[in-house]
């Protein structure tokens, strides 16, 4: 404003007549968009976010529709197909019921019968009867280092029956004469043989490969049940376990963050908006909650809810997470609200007579949406991991209920020999986490009120 002198102007009465309503000024060239419509438009434009949205939808379908389509019980153990990789050979031959065997005597070291997964029967000529023999087995050929493999047994008889964890593969069997101290001697023989996978009639019937009436001849070929993603350490179908495990993992992954972020937003915005002593008191209480040890409280809740051993600890887990994890969100939201409260447009809104509710819901929360979404994005994977960890220490799901985390923890023990048991659940956790991260990123851009009307 200047202090320049006002120039005197003369007005006619016409100048004070109201302007005629001009329709053209009021017309809107583009359709009016609500907040959500606008957000959806911007989300659709973001390709990464859209892909991750589809991934999340796919995961939900996998969880809810999957078990309807793939109706395999995830708790059924198939001891003939333990730790099978996907796409493993499933052919199997029918054999007679197992009968104990006592050897028949042989003039040389040989298989008494065709080696099968039911039993491998070896017999040999008595070449050193004084102290007995030791029988070894290995899948690797025996070189100069004389590593004969697994010692299966010490025996005085010139025959041996091996039934330990036989797999349809090639084995080298060694029979070694031992001395008085039980040490190996230089007197040994090795043979090589391929073990065939077999099944008994009763077993075939219980698997539904053969009807109860049918009596097929010995030697008939069958195929074991198909496990698209292989089986775990107890022969349970991995795909079915992943589908059922997803329920637990996604339940915790969705609900815990949703609930505690909601509580955090309400708490934080209240504290931030009211400010002053109330704010101080509320935030000191939040600090107090942060200091509570999560694991200890988890155990206390479990005791409190009377969750006995062998029962699922998912509900106490959810409760513990909701009760203990909200302060982080509350702090973030409070900080944002404190900042936004002093912004010009809030003051303007107040001057125009906006009510508190309107200010908070219309201006403040939408402006903190970015922060909230980032929190949620990080909370989902961390909730999934927390569930995994708690299931591992026996506080989470009770066997045989699977969850991705407990499957990983079981799979890691056999990581080197049967990697698929770790890779599949880990892959699902990774995909879920990635999808939520990218979706959260896109949502933040789409929902942030400050990004509105920008292309």
């Amino acid at each position: 404003m200047t202090n320049a002198e006002q120039t005197a102007t003369t007005f006619s009465a016409d100048a004070f007549a109201p302007l005629a309503q001009d329709q053209d000024v009021q017309s809107i060239s583009r359709p009016s968009l609500s907040y959500w419509q606008d957000a959806w438009l911007r989300l659709r434009a973001n390709r990464r976010a859209l892909i991750s949205l589809w991934l999340v939808v796919g995961l939900l379908l996998f969880t809810f529709l999957g078990p309807v389509i793939w109706q395999i019980d995830p708790t059924i153990q198939d001891v003939e197909q333990i730790s099978q990789a996907p796409g493993a050979n499933r052919s199997v031959t029918l054999v007679a019921e197992y009968e104990p065997w006592q050897g028949q005597g042989s003039s040389r070291f040989a298989f008494a019968e065709t080696p099968t997964t039911q039993s491998v029967r070896l017999q040999w000529e008595n070449f050193n009867p004084s102290y007995g023999y030791r029988v070894y087995r290995t899948p690797y050929s025996i070189g100069p280092e004389r590593a004969f493999g697994l010692p299966l047994a010490e025996t005085l008889d010139p025959f041996f029956e091996d039934r330990l964890d036989l797999r349809p593969m090639n084995y080298y069997y060694t029979v070694m004469a031992i001395d008085a101290d039980g040490a190996n001697t230089n007197n040994y023989h090795t043979i090589e043989g391929t073990v065939a996978r077999v099944i008994t009639l009763e077993d075939a019937r219980s698997r539904g490969l053969v009807t109860t009436q049918a009596n097929p001849p010995i030697g008939t070929k069958y195929e074991f049940a198909w496990h698209p993603l292989g089986t775990d350490y107890l022969g349970r179908d991995m795909l079915a376990r992943l589908m059922h495990g997803a329920r637990v993992s996604l339940f915790i992954g969705f609900f815990a963050p949703f609930l505690y972020v909601l509580i955090g937003v309400i708490y934080g915005s209240t504290a931030g908006f009211i400010g002053g002593v109330t704010d101080q008191a509320m935030m000191r209480f939040a600090d107090f909650v942060v200091a509570l040890p999560f694991l200890l409280f988890m155990i206390l809740f479990k005791v409190m809810t009377n969750t006995g051993p062998g029962e699922s600890g998912i509900i106490p887990m959810l409760f513990a997470m909701v009760v203990l994890l909200w302060p982080a969100t509350a702090r973030l939201v409070r900080g944002q609200i404190l900042q936004i409260r002093e912004e010009g447009y809030i003051s303007a809104g107040r001057l125009l007579g906006a009510k508190t509710n309107y200010l908070v819901l219309r201006h403040m929360i939408p402006n903190t949406m970015g922060v909230i979404l980032v929190t949620v994005t990080f909370a989902v994977p961390s909730a999934i991991f927390t569930e995994a960890f708690l299931s591992f220490i026996g506080m989470g799901v009770a066997p045989p209920t699977p969850s991705w985390g407990s499957m990983c923890n079981e799979g890691i023990k056999t990581m080197l020999t049967h990697p698929h048991e770790l890779i599949f659940p880990a892959l699902f956790i990774s995909i879920t986490v990635l999808a939520f991260n990218m979706l959260g990123d896109g949502l933040r851009d789409a929902l942030d009120a400050r990004m509105r009307n920008r292309e």
Partner: protein, 569 residues
């Protein structure tokens, strides 16, 4: 936009501010660096000289090994765990010892004579404690009195109950001086027995029977065995360095009477870890001379082409039922139905998958000796024939007897290690599949599992039992109604009768016949379901010879071991 040119005063201000910031940054950086180095130096000070382990050290004639956990202390009167047992076996020697072929051999006693209720030991006069003082008969008496005293509360005091008045002294009813032992002179020890014990000479190899030097014990003021300096050693090795939580170093005992027998000068217990993968990697890196293998790392051991060995450690594992009236597992038909469906061969051959494990058939493991040969050869256990149809009939009977529409979920108590987990889940799935029984698994750490077993908070438990002495009685008296290790509180007059008769008898033939009856009763009444006999699969450095794994006594024994010289070609 174009920045307006900064005025002189502004740029000068910016310069000072920049300088200040630089100085602050520099100071902060230096301070953090100094703090870091100081902390590093402090941690180094705290961590004492960690020797670099070498599996076989020819220069020092030393081997390095790892143990699973640190011994809580090495006081032989109260030691219970396997790690303590292993070290005690190397640093102490008692009246008698087991040789490399598991035969009884003279130790500090060079001669002994056993009659029905009296055992006479003659001690050698050249046996010395590691401080050079003579080991006398009085040291044994003091050791036994200490182990029996109610204040010491040794868990293994019951092993001394064979000695006259032992039980009464432990209960606090008689003073320690009333123990049935006498010492005519420093080198003679006469033990009166409560009743005839057929295997007392084998019992004295157990750590609880070791001598304890009275003066030294009293001088330590309750810290006996807590550290290397709080011990006197009677055995082949002494502990020269004990870094708690990290390592122990055993060195040849110069005062040991039989020191020429010992070929290895030093045993470096370089690592304390219960992680089998870590031990495997130490072995792979040539840092330790032996390690055990688990089912998971068996394949890599095969691929490395190591010489794999196996050993039956004498422990049996079984599914124990709760026979208390408040638990439905006290119903015979319910237990019988489980006996008829659980296929222990499937468990051992397909699920546990470790060599050395044997499917459980009996309460008595295979290593136990009978009259002439192995007990199990003389009295084979009844073969359990699976029959699912009959099992379902028994379940129906059980429901009828219990007056239940359906069997409620049963609580299966188990340990928290990988092997027990798999087994518990297998039991759970098998019973669900064949009998439609719901099983809840209760995983607990070892101590908590024992506490729950003692309190009877289970329907079934995956339990195990290792032998305390080399006689079938160590297993045979497990299910006596008065035995506190009978966690399921099984009580039957027949069982109690057999056990009393065995305890009163010294005739081998009669005893074995009674053990066979116990074996049969365990099967007929389904007291437990034997699951498997445990085996140990392990690898040893190819140059370390003579290492012995034992069923009774120290699990691993290096006293007969030696390092094979490198062959010169």
């Amino acid at each position: 936009m174009v920045e307006p040119p900064a005025t002189d005063s502004e740029s000068a201000f910016a310069q000072t501010a920049g300088k200040q910031l630089l100085v602050f940054g520099g100071v902060a950086f230096v301070a953090i660096a100094i703090l870091m180095l100081a902390l590093q130096a402090l941690t180094n000070l705290m961590a004492s000289n960690t020797t670099t382990a070498q599996a076989i050290d020819d220069v020092n004639n030393m081997i390095s090994i790892a143990i699973r956990e640190e011994p809580p202390q090495l006081n032989s009167t109260v030691a219970t765990d396997a790690s303590s047992g292993m070290i005690i076996g190397h640093v102490f020697e008692g009246l008698l010892r087991m040789n490399a072929k598991d035969q009884l051999e003279a130790g500090i006693a060079h001669k002994w004579h056993v009659t029905d209720t009296q055992v006479h030991f003659w001690l050698r006069t050249d046996a010395r404690w590691s401080d050079g003082s003579t080991i006398t008969a009085q040291d044994f008496v003091f050791g036994w009195q200490t182990a029996l005293s109610p204040e010491v509360a040794s868990e293994y005091a019951f092993l001394l109950f064979h000695i006259k008045n032992g039980r009464a002294i432990n209960a606090g009813e008689l003073p320690a001086s009333e123990l049935g032992v006498s010492t005519p002179n420093d080198f003679e020890l006469i033990v009166q027995l409560e009743r005839p014990v057929a295997f007392f000479d084998k019992m004295v190899t157990f750590p609880t029977y070791l001598p304890v030097p009275q003066k030294f014990y009293q001088a330590t003021a309750g810290k006996y065995g807590a550290d290397a300096s709080e011990l006197l050693y009677s055995g082949p090795y002494t502990i020269s360095n004990w870094v708690h939580g990290s390592s122990l170093l055993l060195e040849k005992n110069e005062h040991y009477w039989d020191k020429d027998r010992i070929a290895i000068d030093k045993i470096n217990i370089a690592y304390i870890t219960s992680d089998s993968t870590a031990s495997l990697n130490f072995f792979k890196d040539d840092k330790i001379a032996t390690t055990t293998l688990t089912a998971e790392n068996l394949d890599s051991a095969l691929e490395e082409r190591w010489q794999i060995k196996k050993h039956q450690d004498g422990a049996i594992f079984f599914l124990e039922f709760n026979h208390r009236k408040s638990h439905i597992t006290q119903n015979y038909n319910l237990r019988r139905s489980m006996q008829l469906v659980l296929d222990m061969e499937e468990l051992v051959y397909k699920v546990t998958k470790l060599p050395g494990y044997l499917p459980g058939e009996s309460l008595f493991p295979e290593f136990l000796m009978g009259v002439e040969t192995h007990f199990r050869k003389e009295y084979p256990a009844t073969k359990n024939v699976l029959d699912r149809v009959r099992a379902r009939e028994h379940i129906k009977l059980a429901k009828h007897e219990l007056g239940l529409e359906a069997i409620p979920p049963l609580m299966l108590l188990t340990g928290d290690n990988a092997v027990s987990n798999i087994q518990a889940e297998w039991v759970q799935a098998s019973l669900k599949k064949h009998l439609d029984l719901d099983i809840r698994i209760d995983k607990q750490i070892f101590k908590q599992r024992l506490a729950k077993m003692t309190a009877g908070e289970f329907d079934m438990v995956l339990a195990g039992w290792g032998p305390d002495y080399d006689d079938p009685l160590t297993f045979g008296d497990l299910f006596a109604s008065w035995n506190l290790n009978n966690r399921g509180r099984y009580a039957s007059d027949a069982m109690d009768g057999f056990i009393s008769q065995v305890q009163d008898s010294v005739d081998p033939a009669t005893r074995m016949r009674l053990f066979a009856q116990i074996q049969q009763l365990v099967y007929d009444d389904v007291v437990i379901l034997p699951m498997y006999e445990r085996g140990v699969t392990y690898v040893v450095h190819p140059r370390l010879k003579g290492m012995k794994r034992r069923v009774i006594g120290p699990q691993v024994d290096f006293t007969n071991a030696y390092i094979e010289p490198v062959s010169v070609n």
